[in-house]
Symmetry: C2
DNA sequence: ATCCTGATTTTGACAAAGTCCAAATCTTGA
DNA sequence: TCAAGATTTGGACTTTGTCAAAATCAGGAT
């Protein structure tokens, strides 16, 4: 993220230490959970309440400044890479998450066309697998 | 589901009233939540503990007899349509869920190929949108 | 048909991830 | 510098699900 402060102002959000810290934490740690964001933010500004972390993450998500992803069996994760339609690759065993550029973003199966009368606005793809590190470890 | 009892036996699962009731509930109500399954099962057999509902749903899922889907902002949902690679269409507003046959199941973007060294075993797709009923209602 | 053994069910406590609310504090614009 | 409205905080609470121990049940052997 270029300039967190400018980003906040552009979206008419008062600039606070908490918001800057959370925004930078998300920027530094793509796919971090709220908990991890809180930890990272605390390293920067000393202290921030759990509720504020959620408040900030929610408002940033609502404004489209960050994106929330919610894979099964994982708390929500956040990233500041927004505006493209990239997808995710998640390790079933440890939760490690990687970005994946959709090779054929406009393939028929991913195009938001009408089905059952729904107005479709997004096709979300999650690739499930096992990361290199977990492939080594004995399967528990 | 053809014969719930036979299905249980085929998987070496002792047949119990609770398992039959849960299995039939999932069959009758595709995409039902654990809570909805419990309600439906109770209509059939009078009473079943919350824990048993979870026990049964978990064992059936582990055996591959039913499938669990976990869309963002929704409790887990269950369906007995397994073995094909169909995807889901979910209403952002009310959670209504529909099955979607992937038009191009083997499109490059959905093929489980290697990325970042991960061993990929599944590509999960969720289409997000607004269902017909919610398109009518005023947007709150 | 009855009994034994291991599996299943039940009950109640517990855990994780978030949200709600009211009071205190801070940002911003005048 | 100040007031007004927005943000932050702390604590209680909710939802969804799991853990553990005791009670009960299913299925095979007698």
């Amino acid at each position: 993220m270029r300039d967190p402060e400018a980003t906040l102002r552009q979206h008419d959000l008062p600039v606070t230490a908490q918001r800057l810290a959370v925004l930078r934490a998300v920027s530094r740690h793509p796919h971090a959970t709220a908990d991890a964001v809180a930890e990272s933010a605390r390293e920067e500004i000393g202290t921030i309440s759990r509720q504020s972390v959620y408040n900030v993450l929610n408002v940033l998500t609502d404004k489209g400044i960050i994106r929330r992803i919610q894979p099964a069996d994982s708390p929500a994760r956040y990233e500041d890479r927004v505006g493209d339609n990239h997808h995710h690759l998640v390790c079933r065993s440890c939760g490690k998450t990687e970005d994946v550029c959709c090779a054929v973003g406009d393939a028929p199966c991913l195009t938001a066309h009408s089905h059952h009368g729904f107005k479709i606005d997004e096709a979300e793809v999650i690739y499930w697998g096992t990361c290199p590190a977990c492939q080594q470890k004995p399967r528990n």
